[in-house]
């Protein structure tokens, strides 16, 4: 096996020189790494779908016409920060990757964030929730594309209070992201005149929420906030139905829940659940067209917000590279991405802020009743559009060192 590596290296060198000869004919080589969860709890949000989304972005961008030669690779970070950091390092050092995208799971995203800065490459995160990426840990090399915990808290928390849900009880995953969700949402609730009357922490992962639901039920709070994710949220919603929580007049608010989770629950169980997302496949003609192409390659599955984010991020990144005619200087590319306004069929027009926050509107959705739903993926009805500047944290509140004064 060891004997094979020098050969591979040689082949690699030949390829590189070939690319350089090609480069003389004005071809800029770009390599994009899709680093996602391909086997674990978030593989339906990320996984193969992210690779498909990136491929669709390449189809639409037509790199060859713009003097680019783009290559895609992908890997599984298993939701472990050390695995993610090691892969990122290896991609940047050895495999010549210029840009990493996807990276669901906050802990992994924070680790990759460090590596991208150290190596001066580009990191566009579409899957992680932590707002620290554009806060204390922001770097000139990172853009946070789709959503963050503060935006979800503003969206769901703010809207629920406005609709009369002014007393809250939290069921929180005993993990950093769960606590961040609870903290951010609590701020929003207090600000809009609501009140948090209790919270219970559950181990993560956890399958039985009956005990926490019982406590939430007897607290009499109008809203039960689910500050957890993935299978935990699915279990909590499923069991809330069993205990008649919504029939008893209490509302469930999912603080970090994706369309794939709701699809898994089905409208019968999830009906009435209120949540915030920046993307839904059935928003308009452009999102429907994209989603059709996506589901043809994905066994009929519809794209999640993260998948849409990968598509949109790759598109904007390639525009910036085409503009700069080189992908080597990561910070320069990111600066270019911030200088240009964003425009794509899925998120519409937007901007990238100095702290790395991509700005677009988000939507407050409610899960349809079974009678209203026409198919297994007909899940949401839109309650409200929340403008970008209301839903995302104000520029000066994040504590990002890139923001001056």
């Amino acid at each position: 096996m060891i004997g094979r590596f020098p050969l591979a290296k040689l082949a690699g060198a030949l390829l590189v020189s070939a690319a350089m000869i090609g480069g003389a004919a004005a071809q800029t080589a770009v390599k994009i790494g899709v680093l996602g969860d391909r086997s674990g709890a978030y593989s339906d949000i990320s996984g193969e779908g992210s690779v498909v989304a990136a491929r669709l972005a390449l189809e639409d961008f037509k790199p060859a016409d713009k003097g680019l030669k783009v290559e895609l690779i992908s890997a599984d970070h298993q939701n472990k920060p050390d695995v993610g950091a090691a892969l990122a390092r290896q991609w940047f050092d050895r495999d010549g990757v210029d840009m990493i995208t996807d990276v669901v799971t906050s802990s992994v995203a924070l680790a990759v964030n460090q590596v991208a800065k150290e190596k001066n490459k580009v990191f566009v995160d579409t899957g992680a929730g932590t707002a620290d990426l554009t806060g204390p840990q922001c770097t000139p090399n990172t853009i946070h594309w789709v959503y963050d915990t503060v935006a979800l808290a503003n969206g769901t928390g703010g809207a629920m209070v406005k609709r009369g849900g002014n007393t809250w009880y939290f069921i929180t995953a005993d993990y950093a992201f769960g606590q961040a969700l609870q903290r951010d949402t609590t701020n929003v609730i207090n600000k809009s005149g609501g009140k948090v009357i209790g919270a219970v922490k559950t181990p993560f992962p956890n399958s039985d929420f009956s005990s926490s639901l019982l406590q939430a039920q007897s607290s009499g709070a109008k809203v039960i906030g689910l500050a957890n994710a993935g299978t935990d949220t699915i279990n909590a919603v499923k069991q809330a139905g069993e205990f008649g929580i919504t029939e008893g007049g209490q509302a469930l608010a999912g603080l970090l829940i994706f369309v794939s989770d709701v699809h898994s629950l089905g409208t019968k169980v999830a009906q009435g659940l209120v949540l915030t997302e920046p993307f839904y496949w059935d928003l308009n003609d452009a999102t429907r067209a994209f989603s059709d192409r996506f589901s043809k390659q994905m066994n009929g599955k519809k794209p999640t917000a993260n998948h849409a984010g990968v598509y949109s991020a790759v598109l904007h990144y390639l525009k910036a590279v085409a503009e700069k005619k080189s992908a080597t200087d990561g910070a320069a590319i990111v600066a270019q991405m911030k200088a240009m306004p964003t425009d794509d069929p899925l998120f519409g027009k937007g901007t990238v802020r100095i702290d790395g926050r991509k700005m677009h509107d988000m939507y407050l959705f409610e899960v349809k009743k079974p009678a209203e739903s026409t198919g297994p993926w007909d899940l949401y009805k839109k309650l409200e559009t929340i403008p970008a500047n209301e839903v995302f944290r104000a520029l000066n509140e994040g504590g990002c060192p890139l923001v001056k004064g």
């Binding site: 096996m1 060891i2 590596f5 020098p6 290296k9 391909r38 086997s39 593989s43 996984g47 193969e48 690779i73 992908s74 890997a75 599984d76 472990k80 920060p81 050390d82 695995v83 950091a85 090691a86 892969l87 390092r89 290896q90 050092d93 050895r94 906050s106 802990s107 924070l110 680790a111 460090q114 932590t130 005993d174 993990y175 950093a176 992201f177 606590q179 993560f204």
Partner: protein, 328 residues
């Protein structure tokens, strides 16, 4: 009952008193390893090599306990992981130089090993394993709850710092040199332990505890000593890994890490001196190069487990040792 059913042949082969011949062979293997350590970074990616070496040392430490002490611990992630936390915390928050940080991590693992070991060695067989597992779960819970560990985000952006305050470890090649030295030192130490009178008594206890007792050995003191040694060296591996990868996280204390080290040792050949290194090499390589296959990784790993247990119970090095009829 079943506790008396024996593990496979490799450890017994290795336990035979060694001839001068074997020693010469082992010397050659050591020289070979040293040469490989020097040459490998010229061809292979140093970060990958450092990962192999850290896990190699971890598996060596684990094998000291299993292969030579006959004690199967399901909780070695506790020592590996806690050491990596302390080392990362020392280097990042307390401003330790890397060697002090690694030392602090290692000492933590030793103390933890002493406490856990003292409890666990009172029981035998599967009950011993279960106590180690349970204690490690508590260490995991502590890591999750304690403030300084940073929850599931772990301790990130740990500076590699300057060795002895002088040599910067930022360059991967310099870091590699340190890791190689730590690894080789650990390997030599373990080899010495195995072939010392202490090691001989251990093997005697492993093969027949009652006889060792009747010969007047204080069996529990020996068991505790090897437990602490194993935990300490596992800690050394974990503390070093934290500096190399500049982060410490829950992965390192999770029970699946305890399972991984069992797998490495088994694949390489338990009870062989060099087997765990090969096992770590195989597993880390699989994880690194299969990462692109996504969901198939667990299936492939599962198949490797099944095949290993059915066909190569003595492990790769155990198999080689049987073929050349010499202990390795």
């Amino acid at each position: 009952m079943a506790d008396s059913a024996t593990l496979d042949a490799a450890p017994i082969a290795a336990a035979r008193p060694e001839s001068r011949d074997d020693r010469a062979l082992h010397r050659k293997v050591f020289i070979g390893i040293a040469v490989l350590l020097v040459l490998a970074p010229l061809v292979l990616y140093p970060v990958y090599l450092m990962k192999v070496l850290c896990f190699g040392l971890f598996a060596l430490a684990f094998n000291l306990l299993l292969g030579y002490g006959g004690l199967l611990s399901f909780g070695h992630a506790a020592y590996f992981g806690m050491a990596s936390y302390i080392s990362a915390y020392g280097a990042k928050t307390l401003g330790f130089t890397p060697e002090v940080a690694i030392l602090a991590g290692t000492v933590t693992a030793a103390i933890l090993g002493l406490i856990f070991g003292a409890l666990a060695i009172r029981r035998q067989g599967i009950y011993f394993s279960m106590i180690t597992l349970a204690l490690a779960q508590m260490a995991f819970f502590f890591s999750l709850q304690a403030k300084f560990t940073g929850g599931e985000d772990g301790i990130q952006a740990v500076p590699r710092g300057d060795l002895f305050g002088v040599i910067s470890l930022a360059d991967d090649r310099v870091m590699y040199a340190l890791v190689a030295v730590v690894f080789f030192g650990g390997l030599l130490l373990i080899y010495r332990i195995i072939h010392s009178p202490f090691g001989q008594v251990l093997k005697a206890i492993r093969d027949n505890e009652n006889r060792a007792v009747s010969l007047g050995y204080r069996v529990n003191q020996y068991k505790l000593a090897v437990f602490v040694l194993s935990a300490t060296l596992a800690g050394l591996a974990g503390a070093t890994k934290a500096i190399v990868f500049q982060l410490a996280s829950l992965t390192d204390v999770h029970w699946s890490m305890s399972g991984e080290v069992v797998l490495m040792t088994l694949v390489g050949g338990m009870g062989t001196v060099f087997g765990p290194i090969v096992g770590a090499l195989v597993i880390v390589t699989m994880e690194t190069y299969l990462a692109q296959f996504g969901a198939w990784v667990t299936i492939i790993q599962g198949c490797v487990f099944v095949l290993c247990v059915l066909l190569f119970r003595e492990g790769i090095v155990g198999l080689v040792a049987r073929l050349i009829r010499k202990p390795l």
